[in-house]
Amino acid sequence: MAKKVARAPLDYLNMPAMKAWLAGVFIFLYTPLMILILFSFNDSKANIVWKGFTLKWYVKAFENTQLREALLNSLLIAGVCTIISIVLGALMAFAFWRFKFPFKGPLESGMSLPIVVPEICFGVAVLLFFAKIGFPNDLPYPFNLTQIILAHVTFAFPFVAIVVRARLESFNPELEAAALDLGASRYQAFRDVIVPHMKPGLIAGGLLAFTLSLDDFVITFFASGPGTITFPVKVYSMVRFSVTPEVNAASTIIILITVLATVLALRAQAATTKES
């Protein structure tokens, strides 16, 4: 006996057509990634037919010194980039939130340009810049990563500033006034009252900077000197030649790191909205 389920007129999510559409979209988004992860455990070089479970591609990926080095470089770059971006982003967010000053609007739009400018344009700019100032290309490790870090920070810190600024909107300025009344200096009030309030924003922004840096290929491709290799640059050169389970294994590790960072960032952000 067919029973008609009552459905509110705006309950689009429960329309069969809508469910099918959503399912289609998510299948499109996730199937390639699922297959990539699945075949990283496949005991066959051919990468097409399932031959059994194995971890040998992970072992191989870790034994590939270049790949390992590239992965470590990427994590190091992302780590340093995150720390600098958090500091710069927090200062920028605070200054724009707290002060009125001439040319504030244009400066604010200008400083969000790194977010909207096409990657290729900024990559080219970074290449010309380092060539023009004669930045040394042969610094010893890890200083040969400097150019990449400088470039990554430049596009990452405006993102951090946006996230932190959103967080600051929920700050009650009277708290800072109270701290000042009670004898704290400006800097003490900043450090002990404002920064703790910013914290979820700093975490979310920092994780965003981390993934942005880890993800970047184009700008790194232009900013890196010869001989410096990062994970995306290495994978790019591997992918150009062939599709191998080793790349699948390395990719799966990166996906795992990204998923973790995303979940943590969303949690930090959820904490932000809950408190406000």
Partner: protein, 297 residues
Amino acid sequence: MQDWREDKTFFGATIALPVIWFMIFFVVPMAIVWAYSVGENVGPVDIAITGTFANYAKAFSPEVLKVMGDSVVLAFITTIICLVVAFPVALAMTFADEKQKMWLLLLVMLPFWTNLLIRTYALIAVMRTSGVINSGLEGVHGLLALTGLPMGTFEPLPLLYNKFAVVVGLVYVHLPFMVLPLYAALDRLDKSLIEASLDLGAGHLETIRRIIVPLAAPGIAAGLVITFIPALGAYLTPDLLGGPDDLMIASLIERQFKRANDWPFGAALSFILMYITLIFFAIRAFMERKGGKVGAH
């Protein structure tokens, strides 16, 4: 908010570092590109800034115009497909309960946060000649042949290294760019207007066409711009999924720097892409202001 003059040292201490960083590592490099775009090669490594417009003129040669036209068309098709695919998703998200909303948002965001190169690589593995789709088709073909149908030999579909692959890749990568602004716009709508429309006898499609779309127009415009601009400047996707004839602007720019070694021309192309970007964002800002005014009535 405090006037900066009331506490100059504190103001200076907080704003100095970000501004200096932005000036040195963004404004100066961009200025150098701009200067190069009006310069010319005078030696193997020397470039003189002569104020010439020859590099920009070169961008209007037929070969370059073809690449630019292709890029605009591919990015435009991508944007429209993204809009059509993303709109129902954003609509479903808007009217879902809090928990479902969180999950849908997470599901949309996760691929967005996953390494672009990895996503492109995953697509290659699915679409190549011996990839999942073609192997699946070959399997089906084999089964049909077993039943005695005259099937002929199996020809794998040419899914990769053509414009089709580029569009699929661009849609795959940029879909979240469209979902998020659409969702942000739809979420702000006054739901009673939609209910009223449905109560008064309009169907769902008519309500979408005559109520939701006009009200969400600024958000739709934002989504179009936010999707179109990165799609237009995409480098990795056309480079890895397209064939030799499917160049887009970014690959052309890259070639001037890494292979052709014509830096001034590359700089000019890069600035043309910048100008297009800025024009689109200006249009968007203008529409937003207009949309804000309409909303205020």
